[in-house]
């Protein structure tokens, strides 16, 4: 069982190493097959761990395996440990499973790119890092995985390194994430100081409320940065500069949901610091509304989906912030299915339209690519949460949990419902714009259908599988009728809220109605175009500028830093340091010139100098005696 975990962890790393070291001895397509195979092996390992855990009773479902002692000093020691428990196995299955499908999809999507091998090595490295993150047996390993997914994400966003915008986006993502990494590291330092260890078990210990709050805040900072929540959300839309499968794998299905995983994993500390947990939920609620609003005006097909990702992760934050851990994780799972599906369907559209991403140039693709349309429709319905698709089951449980959390919960609940309406509106706006209507001139000119070759199959099959999962994946748990995920995760994270049936029913009904309302509105404006789309110049401008977050950070951090650097240069570096070294040299030269005047070059002066010196010496010699 634990061998399954190690195989799961190491096989993508092995693939990354092989592709890197093999160089041109591995063909481009071979690299793709190797990476895909390693991810499927990892999935097999995850399945083996899952089956192994199933065979145990609830209390014993946590196995730690230590490879070696990594760091030891004084009484502190931490090992290189992997842990499998219900929560990590849950994540392993999602990461390896969805990851394998997306890497398989990449074989087709990246076909013909100049640097396919590098791409697949990075992808395998990412899968390894993400598995390290979720399997890490202590907080330090988790942080190591946390940093490595950030690195892989940076490498993959900037994969097309000849595009300045991609490089800028990669740097932005890395720096925003570094903020979170730093706060997380600080939280760990505090924990080591107070408890002398980084094991997960110490999180449940007794701490003063200040310590608990600080640690929880540090961890929340990491979670917020990685999961692109307010106020560190600005990197995610820009990260869409990377190849589409990267967006699907890293910036939708797995890495960005790591923040949710982190909160569930460290839930004990959040329970000792309830205000921070409320803050997490509040940030989630804020993000889900803000992102939903911004998504309404975006014109890049991938950016719309990126904002919907932020919005959906906002739901998960609401869920786990309220203590409804199983529902948050459940939404994480269904979201991985339908968001990967949406991204990959969008990828097929982009692929078919010669890399065009602007929805204003699209339209009428329904007749041209009916199966992709179907996949996109399924993904959108699951995203909005329409019965019987996956999102319905998971999203509504989170809303019900909010209803069970007092007055603050009502605020979150209303925000969540508003988000459900917005989700319907923006996702079907996108669907109608891209697929409905008559094919635009651009589409007629550039469209080329998928062929039934390796590329076509590699693109189509994972999408079909994910479409299937998006339809049936939600049926795993239908609170309160049956809830196997909640039971499964109970030993890892016991929920602190238990919504009653009427709360579930009311939330489901309202969310469904509002989602349908959003879809209907989108249909009126963008589907049948019964009404012209209303324009509100001010709102439009604010949304197109993404609530001026970039401008705000620019004014708050970037400009002052540049200003400080420039003024230091101008008032300190130039006059003090530069000038002083200059004048040191200048003065030495002046002194030299002065002395050089004594060197007349005339023999008689030298002779006179010698003679008079000797005379003076002689006189002194005689006189002193």
């Amino acid at each position: 069982m634990i061998y399954g975990a190690w195989i799961c962890l190491l096989s993508p790393l092995a693939a990354a190493g092989l592709i890197t070291l093999g160089g041109e001895r591995i063909s481009r397509r071979g690299a793709g097959y190797l990476a895909t195979l390693s991810c499927f092996v990892a999935f097999g390992g995850a399945l083996a761990s899952f089956v192994g855990l199933l065979g145990r009773s609830g209390g014993q479902r946590a196995v730690v395996s230590t490879a070696w002692t990594w760091i030891s000093g004084g009484s502190y020691r931490s090992g290189f440990e992997v842990m499998i428990d219900p929560l990590s196995v849950f994540m392993m299955l999602i990461v390896a499973g969805v990851g394998a499908l997306i890497v398989a999809y990449s074989i087709g999507y990246m076909d013909g790119d100049n640097e396919e091998r590098r791409y697949f090595a990075y992808m395998a490295l990412f899968v390894f890092s993400m598995l390290l993150l979720v399997q890490g047996g202590n907080l330090l390993i988790l942080l190591a995985g946390w940093g490595m997914v950030g690195l892989s994400s940076y490498l993959l966003i900037g994969f097309w390194h000849d595009r300045p915008s991609a490089i800028a986006a990669a740097k932005k993502a890395f720096i925003m994430n570094a903020i979170g990494d730093a706060t997380m590291a600080l939280a760990l330092f505090l924990l080591i100081k107070k408890a002398g260890s980084v094991e997960f078990g110490i999180l449940g210990g007794q701490y003063t409320s200040t310590v608990a709050t600080l640690v929880a805040l540090g961890l929340l900072g990491g979670a917020v940065a990685k999961s692109a929540q307010l106020p560190l959300q600005t990197w995610l839309p820009d990260a869409m500069e990377g190849p589409t499968p990267v967006s699907a794998l890293i910036h939708a299905a797995t890495m960005v949901t790591a923040g949710v995983y982190l909160i569930v994993r460290t839930h004990a500390i959040f329970e000792s610091a309830p205000h921070v947990a409320d803050l997490a939920a509040g940030l989630g609620a804020g993000t889900l509304v803000v992102a939903g609003l911004i998504a309404l005006v975006q014109v890049d097909i991938k950016r719309v989906i990126a904002y919907s990702t932020m919005s959906q992760i906002g739901y998960m934050f609401v869920g786990v912030g309220l203590g409804s851990y199983a529902n948050g994780m459940f939404h994480l799972m269904t979201h991985a299915f339908f968001k990967a599906l949406l991204f990959m369907a969008a990828g097929i559209v982009i692929h078919a339209l010669a890399d065009e991403q602007d929805v204003r140039k699209m339209g009428g693709l329904r007749q041209l690519m009916p199966r992709t349309y179907l996949a996109f429709l399924i993904g959108s319905l699951a995203l909005v949460g329409i019965f019987p698709f996956a999102g319905f089951f998971s999203k509504d449980s989170i809303l019900a949990a909010a209803l069970d959390h007092g007055a603050y919960g009502y605020v979150l609940w209303v925000a969540g419902l508003a988000g459900a309406f917005l989700t319907g509106l923006y996702s079907f706006r996108l669907l109608f714009l891209v697929f409905w209507g008559e094919p635009s001139p651009f589409v007629r000119e550039h469209f080329h259908a998928l062929k039934r070759d390796v590329v076509g199959v590699s693109l189509a099959v994972p999408v079909a599988i994910l479409a299937g999962l998006s339809v049936v994946g939600g049926w795993i748990q239908w609170a309160p009728l049956w809830h196997p995920i909640e039971t499964w995760l109970q030993t890892a994270a016991e929920p602190t809220v238990s919504p009653r049936s009427w709360q579930e029913a009311v939330s489901s009904a309202l969310a469904l109605l509002l989602g349908l309302g959003g879809i209907y509105l989108a249909w009126l404006f963008y589907g049948v175009r019964r009404f012209a789309v209303p324009r509100f110049a001010f709102a439009q401008r604010v949304l197109e500028h993404k609530f001026y977050f970039d401008e705000l950070y620019d004014a708050l951090f970037y400009r002052p830093t540049v200003w400080a650097a420039k003024s230091l240069y101008r008032w300190v570096e130039e006059p003090l340091i530069d000038e002083s070294s200059d004048s040191l040299g200048q003065d030495t030269r002046d002194l030299g010139r002065l002395v050089a005047r004594g060197q007349t070059g005339l023999l008689r002066t030298y002779a006179l100098a010698i003679a008079s010196s000797v005379a003076v010496l002689a006189i002194v010699f005689v006189a002193v005696r």
Binding site: G598, Q599, G601, L602, L603, R604, A607
Partner: protein
């Protein structure tokens, strides 16, 4: 053995040395400068020998021999330089040989 006292010898030596020094300082022809230098050396030699006689000690004479050897070598080098200067058609005037001015 009688003769002039040591002081006389020293007076002659000082006169020779002063004449030589004056020549080195005021003459512009390097050949004459070299010549004056020899006169200075001879003055010094005379003083050395006079002191050797005065103190009944042979060291001064040995010094004088060494100085003569040095003077001979110096003349070779100096004359060689002057001949070389002449060959290059450089004016034989120490005041105009001042390219070492700082």
């Amino acid at each position: 053995m009688m003769g002039p006292g040591t002081a006389w010898y020293l007076a002659v030596a000082g006169f020779l040395f002063g004449t030589g020094a004056l020549g080195v300082l005021v003459r512009r022809n390097p050949l004459i400068v070299l010549l004056s230098l020899e006169i200075m050396l001879n003055g010094a030699n005379l003083a050395l020998i006079a002191f050797a006689r005065h103190l009944n000690n042979g060291d001064g004479q040995i010094f004088a021999l060494a100085v003569m050897a040095v003077a001979a070598s110096e003349v070779v080098v100096g004359l060689g330089l002057i001949v070389a200067l002449n060959r290059k058609r450089v004016p034989l005037d120490v005041d105009r040989l001042s390219s070492l001015r700082g």
